[in-house]
Structures are given as structure tokens and as C-alpha cells.
């Protein structure tokens, strides 16, 4: 392979990558531009133009001292606690969901008993239960994490049960024919076999966690993104309010992207997946 062909291939791949990026973001960029012109023309205080939002956001978050990476107190006091609650709640929900899901899924009878209970609880819209958690834990992180866990556990739990129950019968018999001990059976066969479904559940849980983080903060919190958003709204400071809103959208997108990248890594062995990439 000569240098010319090598750089040609790299160049073409880079061009392909760039084209993909442009394609994904083109519509979004067009909509932002339309919003800009529409907002300037309309002049409504409730819908500031994107440029104004961007300026306010930069002022709000990135005008801090150099020692803290230019991040302001607003970031440390609000964004980090919110993210901590959201990710902490999500991880706890994932652990509980996977462990319980494996226990319930392995036992044929267990799901007969608890299945309807699970179906009942997962159907309750989690935001409606936030006041319940507020009574239980008072206002603050406990209530938020409790709400997040309660809402986020169900997709993981039910998907884990599904995944565990649907391990291919031939694999079950193969493992049995080798007298696979339980720990190896669970760790090397059941868990990987159920992994695609578990990851699907985790992804849904992630968005539920983000949603519940915001909603629980709207209802009762001393700090956080939702709380800041609510304060800005009540102070009629709409550029700030929109800044926090946009941040939520960005966070949702970033978490989803990171999660998908991780999923691609972990589930790289799936033949269909590799075909796509």
C-alpha cells in the first residue's frame, strides 16, 4: 500500500465521516437558524433567539475562575448535584433491576407471583409518585434518588427477566451437558445471552432517570437543574430558563450517545451489529 493510496483512503474515510456529521446535524442547524429569525422578528420575551440564549448560557456557566476550569458556581451547585442524583439513581436502579431480574427470571414460579405486581407498578407514571417520595424522604436528594430509582428500575428489571428466560434451549443443554457450575452458568452464559435485552432496558432507564431528575427537582428541591429552571421561570428570566432547557437536551443527547457507544463495545460480538457498522 503506497503512501498515496493510504492517505487517499484516510482522506475518503474522513470525508465520509464529515458527510455523516453534516447529514445528522443539517436539519437541526436549519431549525436553529429559522428559530433565530423567527424570534427576532416576533420579539416575544418568552422565546428569545438562540444567540441570546447562547450568550446567557456562556455567562451563566463558563465565566468562572480559571482554577475551576472556568466553570461557575452555578455549575457546581446545580449541574453536578443533578447529574450525581441522576446517574446515581440510574446505576442503583440498574443494579437492583439486573439482580432482581435474574432472580425472578431464573425461577419459573416467581414470575407467576410477582409478575402482576411488577406490571402494576411499572404502569404508574413515576412523576405522579413523587409526592409519595416527598412524604417519605422529605424534600431533597433522598426524594429525588428514590423517585428516580422507582421509575428507572422497571425497564431494566422486566427486560432482564425477559432476557434470562429466553436463553436459547440448545445453549441451556450445552451448558448442562458440561456440568457448568451455577456461577459460570450465570456469568458466562445467562448474562451475555440476556445482555442485548438488558442494554435495551438500560437505555430506556437512562432517559427515564433524566426525566425524573428534572421533574422531582421541579416539585421540591433546594438545588439542581430543575430547580434552577423553575427559579428562572418564576423570575421571568427567560433566557436563563431556556439555557437550562437546552442544557437538558444536550445532556440527554450526550448520555444517549455515550451509552450507545458503550453498548456497541460490549455487544460487539453480535453478528447483526457488526454487519451494520
Amino acid at each position: 500500500m503506497t503512501a498515496a493510496t493510504l492517505s487517499g483512503r484516510v482522506g475518503r474515510r474522513a470525508a465520509r465521516g464529515a458527510t455523516a456529521v453534516v447529514r445528522s446535524w443539517l436539519l437541526f442547524a436549519i431549525l436553529v437558524v429559522i428559530w433565530e429569525f423567527a424570534a427576532r422578528a416576533g420579539g416575544s420575551k418568552f422565546f428569545p433567539p438562540p444567540t441570546e440564549i447562547a450568550v446567557r448560557a456562556a455567562h451563566l456557566w463558563f465565566t468562572g475562575p480559571a482554577s475551576s476550569l472556568f466553570l461557575t458556581d452555578a455549575v457546581f451547585d446545580n449541574v453536578f448535584p443533578s447529574l450525581g442524583r441522576m446517574l446515581g439513581g440510574w446505576v442503583l436502579a440498574a443494579v437492583v433491576g439486573i439482580v432482581l431480574g435474574m432472580l425472578a427470571g431464573r425461577s419459573g414460579k416467581a414470575m407467576d407471583y410477582v409478575g402482576p405486581l411488577f406490571a402494576f407498578f411499572r404502569s404508574i407514571p413515576p412523576p405522579t409518585l413523587i409526592p409519595v417520595f416527598a412524604v417519605l424522604f422529605g424534600l431533597g436528594s433522598g426524594m429525588q434518588i428514590g423517585s428516580i430509582i422507582f421509575g428507572a428500575v422497571w425497564p431494566v428489571l422486566l427486560n432482564t427477566v425477559e432476557g434470562v428466560r429466553s436463553v436459547d434451549q440448545v445453549k441451556v443443554e450445552t451448558a448442562r451437558s458440561f456440568r457448568t457450575p451455577k456461577a459460570y452458568w450465570l456469568g458466562m452464559v445467562v448474562l451475555p445471552a440476556a445482555a442485548p435485552k438488558i442494554f435495551a432496558g438500560l437505555r430506556v432507564s437512562l432517559s427515564i432517570s433524566l426525566l425524573l431528575m428534572v421533574v422531582s427537582e421541579l416539585i421540591g428541591a433546594y438545588n439542581g437543574i430543575g430547580r434552577s429552571l423553575l427559579d428562572a421561570q418564576q423570575d421571568f428570566d427567560f433566557p436563563t430558563m431556556w439555557s437550562w432547557l437546552v442544557l437538558l437536551g444536550i445532556l440527554g443527547y450526550v448520555f444517549n450517545t455515550i451509552f450507545l457507544a458503550a453498548e456497541r463495545r460490549v455487544l460487539a460480538w453480535q453478528p447483526t451489529r457488526l454487519g451494520r457498522d
Binding site: 427470571g105 419459573g108 436459547d168 441451556v172 443443554e173 448442562r176 458440561f178 451475555p192 453478528p271
Partner: protein, 290 residues
């Protein structure tokens, strides 16, 4: 030659009462150590059920099975099974090397030795360079070889093969048959192959057990007097082979007039029930684990 496997009076009945279906009825035979025996019978006659009973995956309703003298209750320690459906039997999340190492994972062997044994097993089946690949990247024949290598890596006293070459194309089948013979002779292992292919049963083995239609019983136990060194072309042309396979075919198809339409219909219905029952067993498969 010492007896490796002893099957006596084994019966297996699915279901109970009026809907019960006897898959296997009062089977008795022995397999000596170092022998390659094949069980041949029509589809759905219960040969796979018999194999599962021998493997300890399903307990027989009657009779006993002994592996080198020890009663089989549950899956015995030094036994390995090669299943027909290699794409579902191999673990897609493990590389070929790790798949072959799988039975050795919980044994008290150091990692280096485990790796060496897996590599050795892969070499025996002619797949030296593919340890790093994943099963789906290999052809069907190669995947079944990986399955065989995985079974061999655990150095079983008895190797069971359940219609192992039914899912590969004809030419690959010939290669795998020769491979199985070579490996069996090199390792001196005892192998029991279940197949529906008459030619394969005669070509492959030292001994052919012919089963009847369901409920299966042994119709004949034939010794294969072909030379130990066999070749796909010349052996299959030889008079010995032709006579033997003709005999097996006649035994299998039986006397045309005697097999009435009603009997065929009854056995077909029983096959359907069997399939339904094993489907319902699938759902609780995890429960019936060891």
C-alpha cells in the same frame, strides 16, 4: 475390551395417562471402550431421547444407564455432547478459543495449560489458526468442528454426537465424518453417534444399532467389518459397504406391507406431541437445570 457404556432396559415415556407417548421402549445394549458406535433410526423414533437419557439430561422412566460402571444420575462428569445445531450450541459472545476452553474453565487447571489444551483440540480438528475469530465468522463445517473441539478439550470418556452432521452440506459432511474417525482413532475415545443417515452410520462406525420407529427398540446390532482405514470414495464403492448399507436400509424400512397407514399416522401424531412437549419444556428449561 472393557465396557464403557451399559444401557439396560431403558424406557422413556413423555406425559402420563392417555396422552402418554413412549419414545423409547426397553432398550439394552453396551458399548465397549474405544469403539465408535452409531445409532440409526427413522426421524422422530426416539434416538435423540435415548441420547439425552444417556447424557443424563433427561432421566429415563425405566431402566438404568451406567458409564464405566457408575450409574448415570444427572450428567456424568466425563461426558461431552456435540449437538446438531452448532450455531445455537456455540456461544456467540466468546471467541473460538474461549468457546473451546469453556468446559475447562472451572477445572483446577492453570490458565496456560487450559489455553494449551484448547489449542491442541483445535489442532486435532484442523482449525489451528482461528482461535481469535468468533463463531459466526466461520462456515458451518468449521463451526461444527469447533463444537467437536470443545467436546474433545474436556477429554471425555464418552463422546455423544446427536445428528452432528445433519446441518452441514454433503461435502462438508464427508470431511467431518473422516475427521471424526481420525480423531476417535487417534485419541482412542469412545464415541456414540446418533444419525438418520444410513450411509453415514455404516461408513463412520465399527458397529451400527438399528432402531425401529417409535416406540423405539433395537431391531439389529450389526458389526461393521470394513477396514479401519476408510476412504469416502473407495470404501463407499466396496461390496462390503453396499451389502451392509442395504441390510441396514432393509431393516429400517421394514416390511412395506406390515407398516399400515394407521400406524404411520399414530406415530406422526406422537411425534407432534413430542415436539409440543419439548417446547413446553423449553420455557422452564432453566428450572430443570442441575
Amino acid at each position: 475390551m472393557p465396557t464403557m457404556l451399559e444401557v439396560s432396559g431403558v424406557s422413556h415415556r413423555y406425559g402420563s395417562g392417555a396422552k402418554a407417548h413412549t419414545a423409547v421402549h426397553d432398550l439394552s445394549f453396551t458399548v465397549e471402550a474405544g469403539q465408535l458406535a452409531s445409532i440409526v433410526g427413522p426421524s422422530g423414533c426416539g434416538k435423540s431421547t435415548l441420547l439425552r437419557c444417556i447424557a443424563g439430561l433427561t432421566p429415563p422412566t425405566d431402566g438404568t444407564i451406567s458409564l464405566h460402571g457408575d450409574r448415570v444420575a444427572g450428567v456424568p462428569d466425563d461426558l461431552a455432547v456435540v449437538f446438531q445445531d452448532y450455531s445455537r450450541s456455540l456461544f456467540p459472545w466468546l471467541s473460538v478459543q474461549k468457546n473451546v476452553e469453556f468446559p475447562l474453565r472451572w477445572r483446577p487447571i492453570p490458565r496456560a495449560e487450559r489455553r494449551a489444551r484448547a489449542a491442541e483440540a483445535l489442532e486435532h480438528v484442523g482449525l489451528s489458526g482461528v482461535g481469535g475469530k468468533f463463531p459466526w465468522q466461520l462456515s458451518g463445517g468449521m463451526q461444527q468442528r469447533v463444537s467437536i473441539a470443545r467436546a474433545l478439550a474436556s477429554r471425555p470418556a464418552l463422546l455423544l454426537m446427536d445428528e452432528p452432521f445433519a446441518s452441514v452440506d454433503a461435502q462438508t459432511r464427508f470431511e467431518l465424518e473422516d475427521l471424526t474417525r481420525r480423531v476417535q482413532r487417534e485419541q482412542g475415545s469412545t464415541v456414540l453417534v446418533v444419525t438418520h443417515d444410513i450411509d453415514e452410520s455404516v461408513y463412520l462406525s465399527d458397529r451400527v444399532l438399528v432402531l425401529s420407529k417409535s416406540p423405539a427398540s433395537i431391531v439389529a446390532d450389526l458389526r461393521v467389518e470394513l477396514p479401519a482405514e476408510r476412504d469416502q470414495i473407495t470404501t463407499r464403492e466396496s461390496a462390503e459397504f453396499v451389502t451392509l448399507r442395504g441390510e441396514v436400509a432393509r431393516l429400517l424400512h421394514g416390511d412395506g406391507a406390515a407398516t399400515s397407514a394407521a400406524a404411520t399416522a399414530a406415530s406422526d401424531a406422537a411425534e407432534w406431541d413430542l415436539a409440543e412437549q419439548s417446547k413446553s419444556m423449553d420455557a422452564t428449561g432453566s428450572k430443570t437445570r442441575r
